[in-house]
Symmetry: C2
Subunit: 456 residues, 2 copies
C-alpha cells in the first residue's frame, strides 16, 4: 500500500512509494514523457512529478491544464542536478478535476492590481501563498508570545456604542430598513434600540479586564470609515492591543521590543522558504532589514529631543519641523533611517496631538505616549502609559469636549482599584507588510475592504 | 532588595522576602492585626496577607475597602493549617488607590443578572475571573491545535456583500446619515457604494484559501440579527470554521473528536483551579461529564438510524419524531444522554433542512452533513462534506432560489481545481459554556450584545 503523505514532509520518505493529493502548477509534455510541477498547499516549493507513456492515461495527463487537481502515486527520489529537491516518478496519476483553459490564473506574470480582482484565487500564486502563510504564522506567533507570558486574551466587542478614539469615522450598523421611504425611522425599532457602531479600538474595553487579570490583550478586527484611498488604509483591519498593569512606559517599551523580535524570529523559523522568496522577489534587502532589527537594541528618545535632532539635521523636509506638530512619515523615517539607523522609540508627545487617556507628565504639556518608528516604514506601534488618576482623566474628558456619559464606565476603573498601567496597539497588517515587504495593504488582507470596494 | 513576583509563581519563593502588586479581595481587621485576601490577577486563588501594628500605616491599611490597590512587601511562608496555601507576613503595605464604599462589588453574593449590568467590573469576581481565563485558554488551545497540524489561519472578512447562509437576519452597515430627513439616500454615496452586511459565517471565504493551502481555518466574530431572547443567542459571537481538503466526512469527524478532546485536556492542564471551582459551584458533576468525553470514543449514527432509535425508544417528546424533521434539542439530548450515553455524530441529514453547499448522497434525499450531539447540551458542532461538483452545486443554488451572481466566485472553486473537501463550524461560546457549565451565553462573553442590549 502507498503511503499517503503531505508535500511538507517529503524529506522523510526518500525512496518510498508515496501518494500525494494536490494541484498541477505547471505541466510540460514532451511526447514520450512529461513533467508536472506539483503542490498540495502544505509547502511553498513545488515537487517535480515525472511521468511517461507507461501511464494508462498518459494522453489525458499530458493535456492537464494548470491547477487541475490530481492524485499522484510513485517513488520519491532525490532530484538529480537540482540539489535538495525531490521528484516523484509517477506510476499512477488519477485526475480529479480538469481545469478548463479559461482559468484566469494561467502561468504568466499578473499584476497585483489584476490579482485583487480575483481575491478568491490569488492565494494559489506564489506571492500570495507566501503572504497568507506568513499572515497565519505571524498571528499565531503573537498569540503564543502573550499566552506564554500569561496574558489573558479578551474578545473585546466589535459592535459598540462608544466612540473610543473620539475621532468619528465609524461605520454605523442597523437593522432598520432605511431605504424604504414608506417606513418611519425610529431607533426604538432598531436592533439595539439605539445607534450602534463598529469598533475602532478594543483598548478601553480591554482595560476593564486588565484590572482583573493584570496582563491582558485583545486581537481582532477593527474598522475605520475613512475615505482615503492610499496603500496603507483599509476599512477593516486587525489590531493587537495588549494592556499591562503595574507597568510604566519603560516596561511597555521593553515588551514591544521583545515582541517584535520574537515574532520576526518565529516567522523565520517557520517560513524560511517564503521569507527567501520575499527577499528575492518582493523587497531586495529584506533579510538585512529584519536582521538589523533582531541584532540591535531599539533606541529611545523623547519627542522634544527628536524635534531638536530633526531641526539640527538641516535636512529639507516637505513639512517644516517644529515642536507641537505630529511627526509625518518623512520625519519618522529620517529619525529611524538616518539618525538612529535602527528602530527608535519616541516618547512624551505634546498632549494636544494625543488621545485623552494618556498619562499627563509633570510638565503639564506632554503625555507618556510612545511611538515605535522603524526604518523603511515609520510608525509601527503606538502606545502610552494611561492616566490612572480619576480627577485628571475627568479634566481631560471635559477639556476635549467628550461626552462624559459615554465614558462613565471607563472612569469607574479609576475610581475602583486604579493602578498604573500601560499598553499599546500594533496594526497587524502594518507589521505584516513590514515583514513581507509587500507595499500595499490590499495585498496582505485575504479580502480587502476599501472605499467603494466590497467584492465577495 | 525585595523580589518583585507574580501571584502565580509564589510556590517558587517560599521563605523569601517578596513584593507583590495587586488588589484587596477581602480585609478583616482585628484591632491589633489583620488579614487581607490578596490577588494580583495572575492566579485564581488568593494569597493571605497578615499585617499588624508594626506597619506605619496600620490604621489606613486596616480600613481598606475591597478592591483597593496595594503593593505588599513581606516574607512568603507556608500557611499553617490551610494546607497548600501561602501567606505573606507583611512588613510594608503601600496603598495605591482606596476604593470608596460605594464600590458596586462588595463581598456578597450577586446575581448573574446584576453582574451583567456591570460587565466592566464583573471579571473581578471569582466566577467571571474563572470564565474569562478559561475563555482565553480555550481560544489559544484551538489555535494551537490547528497550527500544530499545519492549518493556515485565514482572517475571513467581517464586512461582506454575500449572505452566505441564505438565511437573512443580517446587520447592515452604512455610512449614510439615514436619520437625516433632508438627505436623499443613495447607495452611490455609501462607503462601499452598495449594501454591506456583517458576516454570518466565514466558511465560503475560507474555502477559497482551502484550495490553495489544503488545510485552513477561520476563527473570528460572526453576527446574527436574530430577535430571540434566549440563553443561547447573542448578536455577536465567535466561531471557529476549519476546512479540510481531500477529506471526506469520516476524516472531518475524526478531527472534530480529536479537537474537542485536545482542548478540554488543554484547559484542565492550564486552569485546574478554575475547573475545580466550576465543578463545585457552577455545575456539579462537571468533571465527570468532561471525563466521560475524554475517555470514550464518540458514537456515529446516520440521521435515518437516529430517527428510528428515537421512535423505538417510546419516549414522550414534546414534538413527535418523524423522518425529514430537524432534530430539536430534546431529541438531540435524548440520543446523547439516554441512547448513546456519550457524544454522538449524526450524519446524512435530509437535504431540505441543510445548507446548499453540502454534498448530495447517491440517494438524492440526504446530504453528507454531520452534527455532533453532546450529553447535557445537544448540538455542539455542525459540519459537512461540501459539494465539489459544479453542476450539482449549480442545481441546488437554482432549486433554493439563491442569487447566482452572489455565488459566482464560490462556484469558480468548483470549476478550477475542485477537490473533495469537508469542514465544520464550532460555536466558540457554545463549547465554552459546555466546559465551564455556565448556562447563559451572556455570561461567557466579555461584553454581550443581545436584542436591545448595547452598553459600553
Amino acid at each position: 500500500m502507498e503511503l499517503r503523505i503531505l508535500a511538507k514532509e517529503i524529506s522523510k520518505y526518500e525512496d518510498k512509494t508515496v501518494k500525494l493529493e494536490g494541484w498541477v502548477k505547471k505541466n510540460r509534455d514532451q511526447k514520450e514523457f512529461g513533467f508536472i510541477e506539483f503542490n498540495d498547499g502544505t509547502a511553498f516549493n513545488p515537487i517535480q512529478v515525472v511521468y511517461d507513456k507507461q501511464l494508462d492515461n498518459f494522453t489525458e495527463v499530458s493535456k492537464l491544464n494548470v491547477y487541475s487537481s490530481i492524485i499522484v502515486e510513485g517513488k520519491l527520489v532525490k532530484s538529480i542536478g537540482s540539489g535538495q529537491n525531490y521528484e516523484i516518478k509517477a506510476n499512477k496519476i488519477e485526475v480529479l478535476n480538469k481545469t478548463p483553459l479559461e482559468y484566469p490564473l494561467q502561468n504568466k506574470r499578473h499584476s497585483f492590481e489584476y490579482l485583487r480582482t480575483i481575491s478568491h484565487l490569488r492565494p494559489r500564486t506564489n506571492t500570495f501563498n507566501a503572504v497568507f502563510r506568513v499572515r497565519s504564522i505571524l498571528a499565531y506567533a503573537l498569540h503564543k508570545f502573550f499566552q506564554e507570558k500569561g496574558f489573558i486574551y479578551v474578545h473585546t466587542p466589535i459592535i459598540t456604542g462608544t466612540d473610543a478614539e473620539g475621532a468619528g469615522e465609524m461605520f454605523q450598523i442597523t437593522t432598520l430598513d432605511f431605504m424604504n421611504k414608506n417606513k418611519k425611522l425610529d431607533y426604538k425599532d432598531d436592533f439595539f434600540a439605539k445607534p450602534a457602531f463598529l469598533t475602532v479600538t478594543g483598548q478601553l474595553h480591554v482595560e476593564s479586564f486588565n484590572s482583573a487579570f493584570r496582563n491582558t490583550y485583545t486581537f481582532g478586527p477593527t474598522f475605520r470609515a475613512e475615505n482615503s484611498n492610499t496603500t496603507k488604509h483599509a476599512a477593516e483591519f486587525w489590531m493587537l492591543e495588549p494592556e499591562i498593569a503595574f507597568a510604566n512606559l519603560e516596561v511597555n517599551m521593553d515588551i514591544i521590543e521583545e515582541m517584535i523580535k520574537y515574532v520576526i524570529k518565529y516567522v523565520y523559523d517557520n517560513a524560511k522558504d517564503e521569507m527567501d522568496f520575499f527577499d528575492k522577489f518582493i523587497e531586495k534587502g529584506l533579510h538585512d532589514k529584519l536582521n538589523n532589527i533582531l541584532d540591535n537594541g531599539f533606541a529611545r528618545v523623547t519627542y522634544t529631543e527628536a524635534i531638536k535632532l530633526l531641526q539640527e539635521s538641516k535636512n529639507k523636509f516637505e513639512i517644516d519641523v517644529e515642536w507641537g506638530m505630529d511627526l509625518k512619515t518623512e520625519h519618522e523615517r529620517y529619525l529611524a533611517e538616518q539618525i538612529f539607523k535602527r528602530p527608535v522609540f519616541v516618547t512624551d508627545y505634546p498632549k494636544d496631538i494625543k488621545a485623552f487617556y494618556m498619562k499627563l507628565n509633570d510638565d503639564n504639556k506632554t503625555v507618556r505616549a510612545v511611538d515605535l518608528l522603524a526604518p523603511g516604514i515609520g510608525e509601527i506601534v503606538g502606545g502610552s502609559q494611561r492616566e490612572e488618576d480619576y480627577d485628571k482623566l475627568m479634566k481631560v474628558i471635559n477639556e476635549k469636549g467628550l461626552n462624559y456619559a459615554e465614558y462613565e464606565w471607563y472612569l469607574d476603573l479609576r475610581k475602583y482599584g486604579s493602578v498604573p498601567h500601560s499598553g499599546f496597539g500594533l496594526g497587524f497588517e502594518r507589521i505584516l507588510m513590514y515583514i513581507t515587504g509587500i507595499p500595499n495593504i490590499r495585498d496582505v488582507i485575504p479580502f480587502a475592504r476599501t472605499t467603494r470596494q466590497l467584492e465577495y
